[in-house]
């Protein structure tokens, strides 16, 4: 739907704008990823609240991760996560073979070095969503061949 275009364009502009400002010396370089991730965190927190207003209580951690992979991902990116793996000890790997924010960029190894910039916001989104569901986590992402990417979630025991 048309809303998706707006978000895609806004996201790519955000990434471009932040990095352009950093290049012009207005801030330290490494901070851009942090800024994007923290923006994603705020959005994830808000979004998960709106989304789970009427859903039933989650049984356990795995249930929450399945919710993120299915309902949450479908609402945000119009498709489900293709593969969820876990070691049942707090580490989950979510694999998306056709990540919406990367499909327009390339289909292979071209521009691979720029891909992480476009994943920071989504890492924050996942971390924010989990945080408001009561789970503290660290989320990282890796890309080996666009547009497939993997998000690794490490649950932190409090």
């Amino acid at each position: 739907m048309a809303d998706e275009t707006l978000f895609l364009l806004l996201h790519s502009e955000m990434v471009a704008g932040l990095y352009r400002a950093a290049e012009q010396g207005e801030g330290e370089n490494g901070r851009c990823t942090t800024k994007l991730e923290s923006m994603g965190f705020r959005v994830g927190q808000g979004l998960i609240e709106r989304f789970t207003k009427d859903t039933a209580r989650f049984k356990d951690e795995l249930d929450i991760m399945k919710f993120i992979c299915k309902d949450f991902w479908t609402t945000v990116f119009k498709k489900q996560i293709d593969n969820l793996r876990t070691n049942h000890q707090g580490i989950y790997v979510l694999q998306d073979n056709k990540f919406r924010l990367l499909t327009q960029m390339s289909a292979g190894k071209q521009y691979l070095e720029h891909a992480p910039k476009y994943l920071a916001f989504t890492c924050g989104l996942i971390r924010g969503g989990l945080s408001n569901l009561g789970i503290k986590s660290i989320v990282t992402a890796e890309v080996s061949s666009m547009p497939a990417c993997k998000f690794q979630v490490m649950i932190q025991k409090m």
Binding site: F7, L9, E13, G17, K35, R42, G46, T75
Partner: protein, 179 residues
């Protein structure tokens, strides 16, 4: 699919909320980075411009509208088709000059500020929705219509409605020359 229509509406709504929330997080981050309101406003306008020059392609592809023959038709198109398509609201259009090149869009419901109650006291001259101005300006420029777009009234600053003013920069007579 076993989705009921109610569920689709909900997904649609949340999709839009994603955009609104992301925009809010962006403005909050910019307020942290830049001290002066004018800098934030200028940044949002530039961002909006870059988005607008791409959005116009998407708009034309989705709506397949015919060529507009006058400035007022163009403004109507923006209000009734584009706004409806992307933000789900239809502002009302009014022409505010005898020359026929100044128009204003009056929004009584602005989805971008759904989650904003009020501007903080130290940010009194922040144009929260300045992105919209840049988007309209960029989109119009890509169809060869130079225009100035600004906020004339803003509900967040205490006015009754939100009003966006579009001023087309070329005289109407130029458009009458058909090749």
């Amino acid at each position: 699919m076993s989705r009921s229509p109610g569920r689709r509406q909900e997904i649609h709504k949340i999709s839009r909320e994603l955009f609104v929330l992301t925009y809010g997080a962006l403005v909050a981050q910019l307020c942290k980075d830049y001290e002066k309101d004018e800098d934030v406003n200028a940044y949002l306008d530039r961002m909006g411009y870059s988005i607008g020059i791409r959005l116009i392609d998407d708009f034309l592809a989705r709506s397949a509208v015919k060529k507009c023959r006058s400035y007022s038709e163009t403004t109507d198109m923006i209000a009734q088709v584009a706004f409806k398509m992307y933000l789900g609201v239809t502002p009302s259009v009014s022409c505010s000059s005898a020359m026929g090149n100044e128009f204003s869009l009056i929004l009584d419901k602005n989805p971008l500020v759904d989650f904003v109650e009020e501007l903080p006291a130290e940010r009194a001259s922040l144009c929260y929705c300045n992105l919209l101005c840049g988007v309209i300006r960029g989109a119009l420029e890509m169809v060869h219509l130079a225009a100035e777009v600004t906020f004339l009234q803003d509900r967040l600053k205490g006015d009754a409605v939100t009003e966006i003013g579009i001023t087309f920069l070329r005289k109407p007579e130029d458009r009458k020359h058909k090749r």
